[in-house]
Amino acid sequence: MSIIVHKTSRVLVQGITGKEGTFHTLQMMEYGTQVVAGVTPGKGGQKFEGKVPIFNTVKEAVDKTKANVSVVFVPPAFAADAVYEAADAGIEAVVCISEGIPAMDMLKVYNYLKKTGTRLIGPNCPGIISPGRCKVGIMPGFIHKEGNVGVISRSGTLTYEAVDQLTRQGMGQSTCIGIGGDPVIGTRFIDALQLFKDDPDTKAVVLIGEIGGTAEEEAAAWIKEHFNKPVVAFIAGQTAPPGRRMGHAGAIISGGKGTAAEKMDALKKAGISVCKSPADIGKTVASILKKP
C-alpha cells in the first residue's frame, strides 16, 4: 500500500495552463499518474495536450471526472482561494505546491479545513509520490523506487537527496511526502506518521526536519507514545544563525527556540536514530532494515 495517493487516485490540476502547471502536468502524466482534469477559469471546454479536459470550476471537474486529488500550481495570492474551491468540491487531498502564500491566509485555510473532509498537503512543498504508482508534485520521479520506507520532509531538494540515498542502498519507498517549509501547513509530521503507522507496507520512516517551530519535538513525543516502526531523522540547520529566515518562511530560530540541537535532542530521547550528517540517512536506514 501507500498513503494518500495511490494507483487509483484521479488527479486534477488547478492552474493547468500556467507555465509550471503545464510542465509538471506533463511530467506527472509521463510518470503514470492518472491526470483526469485541469481547471483554469475561462478555459473550460478546451483540452490540455489534446487529452485532458479543462474546466472552469473544480466542482464541474469533479462532477464530470470523479477527480479525488488535486494539485495547486496557482500564484500565491490566489492559492488560498484554490484550496477552498477544492474543499468545497469535496476533493479528498489537495497538494499545494505554491510558495509564498501569506501566513494570515493559511491560518484561515487550516482552521477551515479542519471542519471539512479535505486534507491539505503543503503549501510550499514538492508534493507527494507513491513510487511506481502515483506522483502528485514536482519531484523527479526516476530517483524513487517502490518499497517499504516512508519519507516525511519539510524540504524539497533535501528530500530528493535522502530518497536518492535510499534508492542507492536498494531500499524503495512506500510514499514520500513533502509537508512544506511554511509556518502553517496542512499535514504535519504527526498526521503523516499516523497514516504510516496504519500502512502495512511501510516498515520504517525517514523524518527530515529543519530549524524553526516545534513540529519535530511534537513528533518525537508522539512517536515515543504511539509509533513502533523504526524512525531515522535528520534536522537541517545545525549551523544556522538565530533570528534569520533560512530560505523557507518557517525556518527561523526565534527567541532561542527552534534550534536543530533541541530537536535532535528531543528525537534522540524518544529513541529515534538521529543522523548528524545528511550523508548518513540512507546508510542508517539500511543498517536498521537490513539487520539479519
Binding site: 484561515k108 526516476f142 516545534t214 534569520r244 550523508a279
Partner: protein, 386 residues
Amino acid sequence: MNIHEYQAKEILRNYNVAVPRGKVAFTVEEAVRNARELDSHVFVVKAQIHAGGRGKGGGVKLAKSVEEVKKMSDDMLGMNLVTHQTGPEGKEVKRLLIEEGINIARELYLGIVLDRSVSKLVIMASTEGGVEIEKVAAEKPEAIIKEYIDPQIGLQSFQARKIAFGLGLSGEQIKNAVHFISSLYKAFVESDASLAEINPLVVTAEGQVLALDAKMNFDDSALFRHPHILEMRDQHEEDPLEIEASQYKLNYIKLDGNVGCMVNGAGLAMATMDIIKLAGGMPANFLDVGGGANVETVRNGFKIILSDSNVKAILINIFGGIVRCDRVAQGIIEATQSVEIKVPMVIRLAGTNAEEAAELLKNSQMNFEVAQTLEEAAQKVVQVLN
C-alpha cells in the same frame, strides 16, 4: 521584514492604538523642532535601530528640557550602539524618536505571535513588563496569560477582557485596555504582521493604557499587498551583500566561515552548511539559487559569494530534479568564463543527467574538483582549504 519603533507606532496610531506623542528626527535640528512641538516637561530621546536592548546600551535617554534633547541627540546620532542583539560591532544610529515623557504607574507586557503548534494567533500578556517574554516563559511560565484567536471569528471582546482582568487592571483601565488590545489585534491582522510586541505596555497614573515601546515584524509573503509597509524598509539595517543578492532574486545570508556555498533548495542548502562543518570547515554563507540554477543565477551567485573576502573555497551542490545537471554544468562553465574565480572550487552535481554533467566539467579543462556524493564534496572542499 522588520521596521523601526517609530514606524510601528505610526501604524498603531492609525489604528487608534494609544501611543505617546512623538516624531522621528534624522538631525539634531529636527530633534529640537520635534521637542518644541511636543510642548512637554519631560522628553524621551530614543535611538532607532532594529535591535532590542537599546536602553541598556545607552540608546534611550530622558531629557528635562529642549536643551537636553539637543545635547543628547547630538551625542546619539552617529554613535555606534552596542546591545546584546547587535553583536559586538554594534549599529550606527541614524534616526531618533523624540517623544513626550509618560507618568508611568505600571509596566506590563503584551504581544501577538503566530503559535505554529496550533496554527492560531495567540495574544500573550504578562505583568512582568520590560522583561523579555522568553525569560518570563522560562522562569515564570504561569505569569503569562494566553488567549488563542480563532481566525474565522477573530478576537472577541470577552478575550480582551480576560486579559485585562488577568493583568489586575480595574475601572477605567479595563475599558482602555480592551480598546488597546482589540485595536492592536486589528492592526496586526490587517497589516499581515508576523509579530507585535508592546514591551512595556504602560498604565499611566491617569489610568491610560499605552504602548511605551512597539516592535512589529511583517510576513514577507504578504508584502505584495502592503506597499506602504514595504516603503518602511530601512536598507541601512541590512547587509549590503544580502540586498544585492535579493535584487538577483537569490536567497543569501552571510555567515562567518570561509567556505562559500551555492545550493539549490533551502533545506539542502542548510544541510550542505551542516556537512561542511562536520567535515571540519565553516560555511561562509547560506545561498539557495532556487530550482532553476541557470547560467544567470550561477553567475550572480558567484559574484555574491566572491564579494565576501573571507571566502577561501567554494562548494557547489546541486541536486538536479527537474533542472538537468548537464545544463547546470554548462551554466557553471559559462559563468566561470565571465567571473574571475581565484579560489578552489568543488562541484557536486547529482540527479538528472549527472554523468553527462561530470563529463562536461572534466572536458572543460577548468580547475575544479568534482565530487560524487555529498560527503565526498564536503571532505574535498575542506582538503583544498588546508
